[in-house]
């Protein structure tokens, strides 16, 4: 391990450029540690986003050596190519500045996919009992730990081709709600994900599933939505 890292960081907006920094290499250093060190000791104008630093908030995702990752839980030793790190903002989102991207489109699509709990006009007054062993509960559990980091959205080729595509995270959220037995908004949700920009646009490339830092499989959630849409369209409920 050499003493310094050669770190190329994207600066500016869409028509920006890479700027190189020689950052001291340290044991157990994370990529977020490197970015923070650059901002504190080399260039205080560097813009990036982070909050929790422990893999809970989903705000520090960037493209590291060509692959989208959560940087707070990514050690330099795992991803550096020799002594080089190349850091870029997430793909498929508008760059605000440097490593910070505009996440509004990403979260608006969660709303477009009806990715929120709909209690219906007469919500239950008591606690709902949802046994943990039921199929619906277990299916919802498989996708419920999404932290909204945008890694899947950045990795998705279909989003790159079609800016209207709802994307893996929004569709995964919709699928967890399709499996929420308390929810009363299923008809509207199925309609929302069955549009041209919805689940049928997925090419099953599985990049979202490969790169999700929480090991969620949005591809399977989207496949589930396709089945649910078919069931509803051809009279099988769902």
């Amino acid at each position: 391990m050499s003493a310094t890292l050669d770190v190329a960081i994207w600066r500016g907006t869409e028509d920006g450029h890479f700027q190189s920094f020689a950052v001291p290499r340290r044991e157990h250093q994370t990529v977020l540690d490197v970015v923070t060190e650059v901002q504190r000791h080399f260039d205080p104008t560097l813009s990036y986003r982070f909050a929790c630093r422990v893999g809970m908030c989903g705000s520090c995702a960037m493209v590291v050596n060509g692959r989208p990752r959560w940087t707070c839980r990514t050690r330099v030793s795992e991803v550096a190519e020799g002594d080089r790190l190349k850091l870029e903002p997430l793909r498929n989102l508008t760059i605000v500045k440097d490593l910070a991207v505009e996440m509004t489109d990403f979260f608006d699509k969660w709303k477009d996919a009806r990715g929120y709990f709909e209690p219906g006009p007469a919500p239950e007054t008591d606690f709902a009992v949802v046994p943990p062993e039921t199929r619906e509960r277990q299916t919802a559990n498989a996708g419920i730990e999404c932290i909204g980091c945008g890694v899947c959205y950045s990795a998705c080729d279909v989003v790159a081709w079609d800016q209207d595509y709802l994307g893996p995270a929004a569709l995964n959220r919709a699928w967890t709600l399709v499996n929420d037995v308390r929810d009363r908004g299923q008809t509207e949700r199925i309609d929302a994900v069955a549009t041209d920009a919805g689940c049928h646009a997925c090419h099953t490339h599985m990049s979202c599933t490969q790169f999700c830092p929480k090991q969620i499989a949005p591809t399977y959630a989207i496949a589930g939505l396709k089945r649910a849409v078919m069931k509803r369209a051809f009279g099988g409920g769902g």
Partner: protein, 108 residues
């Protein structure tokens, strides 16, 4: 894509998977047996099973190809809306017309 188009493309793909396999096997048989064009036409003239099989093949192609093309055009070009739908309906009709013309030519 609507649920109906999605289902139509998947169902037509199932038909095509079988139809293409049978079609290729038929070509291999005809070429290995050394059949002439005349010998092939002698077998296909008036053959209802042949006409039904290839008629189904043509319908499956006319359903499957335009839907796939629609998706490709939506992803790779800014073309959207009714003009795109209309163009692909025309494309489907063209495939049907040309396909059935060929089926009739070797059946009748």
């Amino acid at each position: 894509m609507t649920a109906l188009l999605f289902a139509a493309q998947r169902l037509s793909a199932m038909v095509l998977a079988l139809a293409v396999a049978v079609h290729l096997a038929t070509i291999l048989y005809a070429s290995h047996a050394g059949l002439t064009a005349g010998a092939i036409l002698a077998r296909t003239h008036g053959n209802v099973a042949f006409a039904t099989f290839y008629g189904l093949f043509v319908v499956a192609v006319a359903v499957h190809a335009p839907i796939g093309l629609l998706n490709i055009l939506r992803e790779w070009t800014p073309w959207r809306g009714r003009t795109l739908d209309f163009a692909l309906v025309l494309f489907a009709l063209m495939l049907l017309l040309l396909g059935f013309r060929a089926v009739v030519a070797v059946y009748a």
